[in-house]
Symmetry: C2
Subunit: 152 residues, 2 copies
DNA sequence: CCCAACATGTAGCTAATGCTACATTTTGGC
DNA sequence: GCCAAAATGTAGCATTAGCTACATGTTGGG
């Protein structure tokens, strides 16, 4: 019988952990894109247009930073824009926006449900949202549905 | 009376949202540092040493990437190392490791408590952990404590 | 209708985080 | 004790994401 108490051999454990970190790296890379798409959708809905300056102000970055990122969104088929004309979302961009906005709402609602104050829930959700899998999101939704409502 | 239904003026809402995104950006910048420190602490505990190659394998990156990041940890007073001798944590590094490891455990335990499968909980926690405020972490701990235990 | 304010865009810098290619150092098996 | 494999390190490249400085385009108030 084996003297070592390991359930999985060390090499396999390393591979698993590497895969987890790779997954987190990938999510981190997509986080900014998701925030831009979400903000553009919000602006288009509330103002009818999404100007680079407004996007930059919402994010708290210089307008040049926003312009450069918007160029990447265009390159990746998520947005389009004519010079001096504001930014619009492609079909793919709109699909991402719907998904990202719903997830954002769910994460905020969930944090509030477990007793986090609204302002703090908004802050934490802005980061957490990008790392929540479908399975975890479902667990959040299940929990919200089963919890007693505030309004009662 | 005001025809507009806004509770907060638009400018103020923009400032709030910008602050939330700034907070998330700041957390994102620290995430990699936290993972390195956590992994180094794990290796020191299990193997008695933390070699750059082992750190790189755990993260799933090239060893040169790890070496460059370790240089940053040293620059920032979190680690020290002699050439060809492996990496060690300073007092500050050890303090960060304790905090980060405890938080990681809490996030995983919390996700499992709400019904996320263990493997998925580990994956999601690897990202989520870096964006959880003290207040949210407390809410997680409260919930874990109040939930029925598996082992019963 | 013009011009000043504002929005937009370009150029170029820095830092972080990844990579590959290559060089050097250490170390363990024979 | 040698030497080949493994570990470590250096150099240099790319991309992302931030910045400032400056240039150009648009537009509305007087
Ligand atoms: Mn976000
Ligand atoms: Mn969001
Ligand atoms: Mn992590
Ligand atoms: Mn972790």
């Amino acid at each position: 019988m084996n003297l070592r108490e390991d359930v999985a051999p060390a090499a396999e454990r390393d591979l698993d952990e590497a895969a987890r970190h790779a997954s987190a790296r990938s999510a981190r890379a997509g986080a900014l894109t998701e925030d831009y798409v979400e903000i553009i959708a919000d602006l288009l809905e509330s103002d009818g247009e999404a100007r680079p300056t407004d996007i930059a102000r919402r994010l708290g970055v210089a307008h040049t930073t926003a312009i450069k990122t918007i160029a990447r969104l265009k390159r990746d088929g998520l947005a389009h824009a004519k010079p001096y004309r504001g930014v619009f979302l492609t079909e793919a961009g709109q699909a991402m926006a719907r998904r990202v906005r719903a997830r954002h709402q769910t994460v905020v609602a969930f944090l509030r449900t477990i007793g986090v104050r609204p302002e703090v829930a908004e802050i934490d959700a802005e980061g957490i949202e990008h790392y929540v899998s479908e399975e975890t999101l479902s667990a959040f939704e299940r929990f919200i549905a089963s919890a007693p409502r505030d309004s009662d």
